[in-house]
Amino acid sequence: MTLSSLGKIFSKKNLPVESSNDVNSIELATQRQLIWRRFKRHRLGFAASIVVVLFYVIVLFADFLSTAPPVDYAAARGYMPPQGIQLFKDGHFLSVCEVSGARNMESYLMEYEADCDNTQGISLFGKGYDYKLWGIIPTNRHILGMKDETVDPNAWIHLFGTDKQGRDVFSRSMHATRVSLTIGLVGVALSIIFGIFVGAISGYHGGMIDSILQRVIEIIRSIPTIPLYMGLSSAFPEDWTINQIYFMITVIISLFAWTDLARVIRGKFLAMKDEDFVTAARLNGAKTMRIVFIHMLPSFYSHIIAQASLSLPLMIVTETSLSFLGLGLRPPAVSYGVLLKDAQNVQSVANMPWLFLPAILVVLVILALNFMGDGIRDAADPYQEV
């Protein structure tokens, strides 16, 4: 129906019926769809979210993406520089140059020479070391594998080079990504649960309970974190497995991170408590649970998501710093912090710059998460133009 024909109807009947122009998608859209619309328009945030998704693809398929087992030593391949992959050479779609290495007897370092006249073919989805996908499906397929199945697949493809013990830095980065990003995710999940619980009670109830909870939060926030982490992590029993330490680190980190979220949620609850639609629900006899879970919480889901994606990087950085300081995960576990600890001397800066490649990943994922969080926050702002 065009506007002009509507105009005619009104001028004739003059009914107090509201005109609505055309039924377009915006009018029927839910809040979630609107936020998505706005988020897609937030270019930086949207691009960042793609990067974040890629990183979580790494988390899901770390083993598949790895070219070599992350913890296997091979001293003969120590400090090998990154290898380039060649396209369309010697009849192979993908191939790497043959590398021969010899120890320099003065510096006791391996020196490598690439012989690009002889190449080894690589196949996509080739065979490599055995692993279980998601801990369930046993397989040996990897994204890159050697064509010639007789050669040792672990000796060849080192996209990011190798470290001192000859472990493939790229594969270790993939596994570190998995560990660090899941710690972040689990930590955020724990702090969201705790934050919503405390924030909702504090904000909705108000009064004395609110005051007490806020003081508790202030006390927790005033504790210097590094000494506390040191104390807690040194309290881990020696015989704990990597998994146990891993879990405890997550808990320790989220023990502090929830306070931020609780404050944000409390603020939202305080502001929302006086919104007219909440009053309306209350006056119609809605019970507290309904008001909190049907009316109030959904109104700031998106803020919680934004806040969470902004605190994720903090978690990752915290884990990285702790592990770097030797307080968090320790070898043989692999995390960003553990990887960077390996690269922390002057020698590596000068001679083995590829050991810093994991740092680029850290920076990349942190920035991407921050940009994504900003994007979601902006998109969730209900006062923005649609």
């Binding site: 506007l3 002009s4 105009g7 003059n14 509201e18 328009r41 133009e385 649609v386």
Partner: protein, 339 residues
């Protein structure tokens, strides 16, 4: 009425805005917030701009001071600001930053709906007023303080000495409004732009403010551009009225011409749909059907056509009507009056 004060040519406008266009480039497309607006501000007179939300009245005045931020852009038009003797003029759109600074707060001042926003919370009221005086009038510090005090008295504030030392948040709503008016007028501007100055106030305080503005205008002879959606406020203060709808001025004239003999169906409907103290008990007022369209879904032709009771198919929804002269000074854009 206005007393003779300065040697001004009163028959010619002080500010002449022609074909002003301010568009906003949003992600969903272009919003023509101000689309070909003409205004004449005469010396010592009050020009009222009335219109409902989204009509572009605020954007018009912000454009006059070139206070449009991204994604908004002033696309075209001229804004000639004449000097007192009407010999020379400058086009505000062509001013450089230095000249613009002299015009803003110097020759043209502005007051807002929420006085808190025009005061900084970390400086005293006195500091901010004297700062404005020093900036525009080249007064020494002591002269500036004296003048500021004088202005606080003129806007009817008690204890001016003490008020100068207070912060804006320490004043009550009405006092803040007065302090803001003092700050806007202390540089002796030729034009005062008042953007919904009384909307946030109670009726009694609103009456005080309107009386104050009228009184100050009589004494100082400045022109006022008054923006409001309240037809009552316009009727109290304005000499001339421009009625805006969706970025266009659709009717203009003296207050009597427009309010006593409205020509545009929108003006007419608006005036008859508001209750007055003379409206009968439980009387049903004639209503204006529908709502204001979304600025991005502006109807083709005359923007008012979907709500108009005199809608002419094939004309109103095709072309925006040309300006027609009803009588001297009374202009209307409506196909009903096309010759």
């Amino acid at each position: 009425m206005v007393t003779e004060k300065k040697n001004i040519n009163k028959s010619r406008p002080l500010l002449e805005v022609r074909d002003l266009q301010t568009y906003f480039y949003t992600a969903d497309g272009v919003v023509k917030a101000v689309d070909g607006v003409n205004l004449d501000v005469f010396p010592g007179k009050t020009l009222g701009i009335v219109g409902e939300s989204g009509c572009g009245k605020s954007i018009t005045t912000k454009s006059i001071l070139r206070l449009i931020d991204n994604p908004g852009k002033i696309l075209g038009g001229t804004m000639n600001l004449y000097d007192q003797s009407h010999d020379q003029s400058q086009d505000i759109l062509k001013l450089n930053n230095q000249e613009l600074k002299e015009v803003r707060g110097g020759r043209i001042s502005m007051i807002f709906q929420e006085p808190m926003t025009s005061f900084s919370p970390i400086h005293t009221v006195g500091n901010q007023i004297t700062e404005a005086i020093k900036l525009h009038l080249n007064h020494s510090k002591n002269e500036a303080i004296e003048l500021a005090e004088d202005w606080l008295i003129r806007v009817g504030m008690s204890n001016p000495k003490q008020r100068l030392k207070q912060y804006a948040f320490e004043l009550s709503g009405g006092q803040r409004q007065r302090a803001m008016i003092a700050m806007a007028l202390c540089t002796n501007p030729d034009i005062l732009i008042a953007d919904e100055p009384t909307t946030a106030l109670d009726v009694t305080t609103q009456a005080q403010t309107l009386d104050l503005l009228r009184e100050l205008q009589e004494k100082n002879g400045m022109s006022i551009i008054m923006i409001t959606h309240d037809l009552g406020v316009i009727a109290e203060l304005a000499d001339e009225v421009n009625v805006m709808y969706l970025g266009k001025v659709i009717e203009s004239g003296t207050i009597h011409q427009v309010f006593k003999d409205p020509k545009h169906p929108y003006t007419h409907a608006l005036l008859s749909s508001i209750p007055s103290l003379a409206t009968g008990h439980r009387e049903r007022l004639p209503i204006l059907p529908g709502t204001i369209p979304h600025p991005q879904a502006r109807p083709k032709g005359c923007p008012f056509n979907p709500r108009c009771k005199d809608f002419i198919e094939g004309t109103c929804d095709v072309e925006f009507p040309k300006q027609e002269k009803i009588e001297e000074g009374h202009l209307v854009n409506c196909h009903l009056y096309s010759k």
